[in-house]
């Protein structure tokens, strides 16, 4: 009896899902036509099947990250979960992306000299003090200028007092030859003063020329250095971009080869199926 029941269930399921052999199917259909109860049961099962259909849920294909080998695999999908997991993954992905970009572009952030600065590419510490005249050096130069000026001023004062004294003695003599002497002395003094002024002017001019030349050289050197660095950075970036493009092309090629293999297989299978049906 149990065997009979079992057989009945198996045949019913096999028939319902079209998994009986032709022979079994024919025999079962004979039984069906002769047995109304059996037919009723079959119809009930068919009605149940038609009412329990469910649509598939759609979801986004996952991304897979693998560490290689048989170690571990991580997967993430767009709808990996509701609640805090989704925003947390988004945040983590954004931070990771920023870190990767930062690493790839050698991003550096600093707050030196009271400024927030962002820089890309290889950075070298630029010693600004070596490139410019420092405050100490500048003060020293000013002091030297002051000393030089005071020296000239002292000389000039001494010379003036000397002239005054000579003028006073000559006035006292009050004779013609004395007057000539005074005129001669006066012209000497004027020449001497003019020489002194021109020397002072030349000295100052030379000093300024030297200072400006030195400053220009330093600035030129600095700008040249920066241009060289920028050129190196551009070169590195270009090489990196080329490597990236080359890698992407390789991946595309691999994908294409794999897709071609799959397509060939699908086509071969379809062709063989069609051939078998034709035969």
């Amino acid at each position: 009896m149990l065997m009979e029941t079992r057989n009945h269930e198996e045949l019913m399921m096999g028939y319902l899902y079209d998994e009986l052999t032709t022979d079994e199917k024919e025999k079962f259909e004979e039984r069906l036509s002769a047995n109304l109860e059996l037919m009723k049961e079959l119809n009930e099962l068919k009605a149940t099947r038609s009412q329990i259909s469910l649509k598939d849920k759609e979801l986004v294909d996952p991304f897979m990250f693998s560490s290689g080998g048989s170690g571990s695999v991580w997967m993430a999908t767009k709808i990996i979960g509701n609640g805090i997991l989704k925003p947390a993954i988004g945040l983590a992905a954004s931070i990771s992306l920023l870190l990767i970009l930062g690493y790839a572009t050698n991003l550096s952030i600093s707050t030196e000299y009271g400024y927030l600065s962002l820089s890309f590419g290889k950075t070298e510490k630029v010693e600004i003090q070596d490139q410019y005249v420092t405050k100490v050096q500048f003060n020293k130069l000013l002091r030297q200028m002051d000393e030089s000026n005071s020296q000239y001023s002292n000389q000039f004062t001494g010379f003036k007092s000397n002239v005054d004294m000579q003028f006073a003695s000559l006035s006292a003599q009050s004779n013609k030859s004395g007057l000539q002497e005074v005129q001669k002395l006066s012209s000497d003094n004027a020449r001497h003063l003019s020489d002194l002024a021109s020397r002072l002017q030349n000295d100052n001019l030379l000093f300024l020329e030297k200072y400006i030349a030195q400053s220009n050289t330093n600035q030129q050197r600095l700008i040249e250095g920066m241009l060289v660095d920028f050129s190196d950075y551009l070169k590195d970036q270009r090489e990196e971009d080329l490597r990236s493009i080359e890698y992407s092309l390789q991946i595309l090629q691999q994908n294409q080869e794999l897709s071609t293999q799959e397509t060939n297989q699908v086509l071969a299978s379809i062709i063989s199926k069609v051939n078998s049906q034709n035969n």
Binding site: E9, E10, N43, T48, S70
Partner: protein
């Protein structure tokens, strides 16, 4: 009978992918996973009736598949093998979460479905019919609820046969039972589903002809 989708055709003809994945080709595995992910997710979703648990179990299934695929000797048995892993994972997760009440799960499911309904404005004929959409969603919820009222050993076979379209032979291999037992459990599973539909007064005797 439903027309085969391109995805289903691709699944049927994924022998090369399976062989490459067995050999350790990560790209092939990734493609294989993309092909099977939706199927396994839907299997798990129908088993649990809950998106989060289905996602978690699907991911665990694929992690196990990735670990063990190198040991798969017969690429032809991949389908049975992956469903075997998925059903084992489902049972494992089910045991872990047994304390959860189905009521709360279905409440959450209803919330999710309401959100989905708001997005799915168009029906198959291209027109938005809110009544029809709500009716379909309600029916799906009822069927899911019925599915979770029948015994687990019958439920898993109903899902495998009715929604995943496995052959009895494949079900038998996946669940390590005989074909005869698989057929018998499905028979009683369908009977139990009919009973559940009758309890909700929605069983229609001549529905199969529609």
């Amino acid at each position: 009978m439903l027309a085969e989708t391109l995805e289903e055709i691709a699944i049927k003809h994924s022998d090369l992918l399976i062989r490459n994945a067995i050999r350790g080709n990560e790209k092939a595995f990734s493609q294989l996973m993309n092909l099977w992910y939706k199927r396994i997710y839907n299997f798990c979703f129908k088993y649990f009736g809950n998106h989060d648990m289905a996602m978690e179990t699907t991911q665990k299934t694929f992690i196990s598949v990735h670990k063990a695929i190198g040991k798969l000797n017969e690429p032809e048995s991949f389908k049975s093998w992956i469903y075997q892993i998925a059903s084992n994972k489902c049972r494992e997760e089910d045991r872990k979460n047994k304390r959860r009440s189905w009521l709360s799960i279905f409440q959450r499911q209803e919330e999710n479905d309401t959100k989905v309904m708001q997005l799915e404005h168009h029906t198959d004929d291209g027109f938005y019919n809110p009544d029809r959409v709500i009716e379909e969603k309600e029916m799906e919820n009822i069927v899911m609820n019925c599915l979770h009222q029948i015994p687990e050993e019958q439920r898993v076979i109903v899902i495998m046969k009715e929604y995943e379209g496995l052959k009895f032979r494949e079900i038998a291999v996946s669940l390590s039972i005989t074909e005869s037992t698989a057929k018998s459990r499905l028979y009683y599973g369908l009977k139990a589903m009919k009973k559940q539909l009758e309890l909700r007064n929605i069983y229609k005797e001549n529905a199969y002809g529609n």
